[in-house]
């Protein structure tokens, strides 16, 4: 790495993103809706079931986003609204109760059921929170029923996870004890690594939201300090604040630098001595940097263009520019949360072009004009851009794969390097 400054000495200037120009777009968006979050959430919370109340489109979306239909009986399903429900021939609430009965009979192992709202259920004003209360009463204590909206009119892609976690927060057990809560879905392997590092630093009372099992909800209260592991959790943070918890501001744990700053912020919040933190982080930081070194050869000096997708774009761009020497072309995000991203924005190069929202045709024009070395985009755009001679990285993989933390920093860089390496290899 060119930058030999020890990470601990990187000062985070206190500026807002008012300093960075942001292009705001409102046009056709080419992004998934929040229902998509079910694909990773159902794998994370292993005894939860997600029942979308929606249309055939919603069922088809999840099935298509899940890609392969590998699970005999997946822990998600759709209650498809039919003509008779709309025509008032059937009472939608009775129908929903009937479907949940059917589901629970089939899957008595389910401990937590989410009723997930969709555009159709919202437009017909089907009150899923009331339905959830009613069903919770009926099935208590074997099953808890909660609701949230993953609809495309309310949520964009990862915001579905935000809505889901925000629905969980009021359910968390109360505790005044000092504790750290890591918020945002992480792969199990990453959670285990993080727990080990926190333990070495001397922070032992650590909870993760969402947990792997419904019974392991982390307690929350005035003594809780929470740190976001994902940048798209605006609603969840508000809900946690209401429970008395306080947020630890930090960049996100992507890359060696981001992860180190994230751990340092947590350590400082728990008054861990700086030397102790540095001690604990030294080895994993060195390992991560060595791993990044190998990818830097492929990525340094290359330009990258982000289409808006998961809200991970800004932390990713920060990582790629600072630790791998990539040159940022446009960095698009579906929504820019200024407060949660303040530490990230402070680390961004001053000349970066940020864009918020989307008008996909205009953005494609800008992308073609910029002719970047690599484009990060959704699955609908990737092959058409490749056919025009661009190199692309599908953004959805960045959400589905374990990329957070020191040990994954190299893998994360590899996700960007691989398409470039591949393009160089092919002689056809």
């Amino acid at each position: 790495m060119n930058d030999l400054t020890p990470i601990s000495d990187v000062a985070i200037p206190k500026i807002g993103c008012g300093d960075l120009p942001v292009l705001r777009e409102r046009g056709q968006r080419e992004v998934f809706c929040g229902l998509t979050g079910i694909v990773w959430l159902h794998r994370r919370i292993q005894d939860a079931f997600f029942l979308v109340v929606g249309s055939r489109t919603c069922a088809h979306l999840i099935q298509s986003a899940a890609g392969v239909m590998i699970f005999a009986e997946p822990r998600f399903a759709t209650a498809i609204i039919e003509e008779r429900d709309l025509a008032g021939l059937a009472d939608a609430n009775d129908e929903l109760d009937r479907i949940v009965d059917q589901l629970i009979e089939r899957r008595p192992d389910i401990k937590l059921l989410f009723l997930v709202g969709s555009c159709p259920s919202e437009v017909i004003k089907l009150d899923l929170s009331r339905a959830a209360l009613r069903l919770s009463k009926r099935y208590t204590p074997a099953l808890r029923v909660l609701s949230y909206s993953g609809s495309g009119i309310e949520t964009t892609f990862t915001e579905g996870e935000d809505a889901c976690l925000a629905a969980l927060v009021p359910e968390l057990p109360a505790s005044p004890a000092q504790s750290l809560m890591v918020v945002g879905t992480l792969a199990d392997v990453v959670e285990d690594q993080f727990r080990r590092l926190f333990a070495e630093m001397g922070i032992t009372n650590v909870g993760f939201l969402p947990p792997r099992r419904a019974a392991d909800m982390p307690p929350v209260g005035k003594g809780t300090k929470y740190i976001l592991a994902q940048p798209f959790l605006a609603g969840t943070a508000v809900a946690l604040d209401h429970r008395g918890a306080t947020r630890i501001a930090a960049p996100f744990p992507l890359g060696a630098e981001g992860t180190a700053l994230w751990f340092k912020a947590a350590g400082r919040a728990f008054d861990i001595a700086k030397s102790k933190i540095d001690d604990v982080l030294a080895k994993p930081v060195a390992r991560a940097r060595a791993a990044l070194m190998r990818q830097r050869a492929v990525l340094e000096g290359r330009t990258i263009f982000f289409f808006p997708d998961s809200q991970l774009e800004i932390p990713l761009a920060r990582f790629l520019s600072r630790e791998l020497g990539m040159v940022l072309s446009e960095v698009g995000t579906p929504f820019l949360h200024r407060e949660h991203l303040a530490e990230e924005l402070a680390l961004m190069p001053a000349d970066v072009q940020l864009s918020e929202g989307q008008d996909v045709e205009k953005q494609l024009d800008r992308c073609r004009a910029a002719a970047p070395d690599i484009v990060v985009c959704g699955l609908g755009l990737a092959n058409p851009l490749e056919a025009q001679g661009m190199t692309t990285k599908w953004s959805i993989e960045l959400v589905f794969s374990p990329v957070q933390g020191f040990e994954q920093a190299g893998d994360l860089a590899e996700l960007f390097a691989r398409p470039l390496r591949r393009r160089a290899l092919l002689k056809v």
Partner: protein, 512 residues
């Protein structure tokens, strides 16, 4: 409401997209929320198309609902026209927009664009993908006829011409079927007027009435249109799906009849290897293999005929997820003395396959997963599609080459002839011990997983030591089946203890 784990068909606007994406010069403006843009990836990822589908989504949000979603729609149509300059525009609503009732048709027509604007009414809460495709193809063709100039039809042409109707984007092997059938028609000397919707332009649709007759390649997509064209223009149509040697010959004979040509030469030659491969002694082992068939109605019915008449299988299950074709599939099932299964409930299909206990499943990607869990060989014969259903190589289902493809792709998953025989003979040799599987199956023993969902209340009978020992003598590759059949028989007979007698009674019962 209907509880759905996996769906066989998307909503009807996906069908409309399959038509628009297949064509050139058409643009589709869809009033829909942002999440509905997932549909693009079906075409760009599954079918590996190198262009985005020609679809503009309005992607309205909750905050727009109070305001003016209608204006949003109007702007989207106007912008799409400006940017893409299509020759025809189709407009419609997805499930959510259907509820907010913005009247896309009226809004688009009010723009007074200089190209035909064809509104679609696709009821998202009643209908599904194939219906949507058929309706779109019909509406679009009706809308284009008359909207484009066409040369006057010359009566008394010497050579009769036909249209090929049905191939779409995201169709199961449509690309290769079309190549096979156009080649076949070329050999017959029949000229083709229009192929649609694949690669057709709106102005081509306007020329459809010029042909002498229509070929309905995929009834799910083109039967509605062909029926209307017959009423309107007196165009006869052929609705024989040329899958398998017999059906291809029937198809050729019918084409010859309508085109007024002599096809004797082509009908007497043996154009497919299937005929000989199926007669060769190695194939003796295929005799009476129990096969379960499920898919869209056209492919399922055609596959049943090939399975029974051209491979000598026994059709033990036949079904479709397409209710629109329930009558056709029921009629076909009668030929095999079975009850047709008409259901789009994945779990019902799984239960039916488990109960039928077939040696081979011919189905969709869904049945492939079911078969994998049950340890039954499977070949995919129908949509819904998967990236694997767009192979790089030429791989039609239709015509004589299609018959070759069917032979290979259905027979290879089964344990083949001599190989099966040899395994039986040498099964006690150490290399062929009961846990070994044929190397072509990938090294891992294929084991049927017990399916908790399907357990019935019948108590499972207990195996006596003698019967258990006897069971071990049965070749391993049929042992699982023998065990299941015996247990089923015992349950049916109310037998609590399985002895050698029960085992052989069951064998006799199931082999009759």
């Amino acid at each position: 409401m209907q509880l759905t784990l996996w769906t066989y068909e998307g909503p009807p606007h996906i069908g409309a997209m399959r038509i628009a994406t297949a064509m050139r010069g058409v643009h589709y403006v869809l009033h829909a929320p942002q999440g509905d843009t997932y549909a693009d990836l079906l075409f760009t990822m599954i079918e590996r198309r190198d262009q985005r589908p020609p679809v503009t989504y309005t992607t309205f949000q909750a905050r727009d609902l109070g305001g003016d979603t209608a204006q949003l729609f109007k702007n989207a149509v106007a912008d799409a026209y400006e940017r893409f300059k299509p020759e025809a525009i189709i407009v419609g609503a997805s499930c959510t927009a259907e509820l907010i009732q913005d009247d896309p048709a009226g809004l688009a027509l009010a723009l007074d664009l200089p190209v035909p604007v064809i509104p679609l009414e696709l009821p998202a809460y009643q209908r599904k993908e194939n219906w949507g495709a058929a309706e779109t193809f019909y509406r679009l063709t009706r809308g284009c006829i008359g909207a484009f100039p066409r040369p006057a039809r010359t009566t008394d042409r010497l050579v009769k011409t036909c249209n090929i109707l049905g191939p779409t984007a995201l169709g199961f092997r449509h690309r290769d079927d079309l190549h096979e059938i156009t080649t076949l028609l070329g050999q017959l000397g029949v000229s083709i007027n229009v192929i649609a919707p694949l690669n057709a332009r709106p102005s081509d649709l306007a020329r459809i009435p010029d042909a002498d007759f229509n070929i309905v390649l995929y009834p799910e997509i083109a039967l509605n249109l062909a029926t209307w064209l017959e009423r309107q223009y007196g165009q006869k149509f052929i609705n024989i799906t040329p899958i398998g040697v017999g059906a291809t010959r029937d198809f050729i004979a019918k084409v010859a009849e309508l085109a007024d040509i002599d096809a004797t030469a082509m009908l007497t030659q043996t154009a497919s290897r299937l005929n000989w491969y199926s007669r060769s002694v190695d194939s003796t082992y295929l005799t009476g293999k129990r096969v379960f068939i499920f898919g869209d109605a056209t492919h399922a019915i055609a596959a049943a005929r090939v399975a029974a008449d051209e491979l000598g299988f026994e059709v033990v299950g036949l079904g479709t997820y397409a209710r629109e074709f329930a009558r056709e599939i029921r009629t076909a099932a009668k030929l095999y003395n079975i009850e047709a299964l008409v259901s789009d409930d994945y779990l019902t299909v799984e239960a039916a396959i488990t109960a039928a206990n077939p040696a081979l499943v011919l189905g969709t990607q869904m049945e492939r997963h079911i078969a994998k869990r049950l340890g039954i060989p499977c070949a995919v014969i129908s949509a819904p599609v998967h990236v694997q259903d767009f192979p790089a190589r030429y791989s039609p289902m239709m015509g004589f080459e299609g018959a070759n493809v069917l032979f290979d792709s259905w027979v290879h998953p089964l344990m083949m002839g001599l190989e099966e025989h040899l395994l039986g003979m040498f099964r006690e040799d150490f290399e062929f011990h009961g846990d070994a599987a044929p190397s072509h199956l990938g090294g891992k023993p294929v084991q049927a997983q017990p399916e908790p969902v399907l357990t019935t209340n019948q108590a499972t009978a207990i195996w006596g030591a003698d019967a258990e020992a006897e069971l071990k003598k049965i070749p391993f590759f049929v042992r699982g089946k023998a065990r299941r059949n015996t247990e089923r028989y015992a349950a049916e007979q109310g037998t609590a203890l399985i002895n050698i007698e029960t085992l052989y009674n069951a064998k006799a019962h199931f082999s009759s």
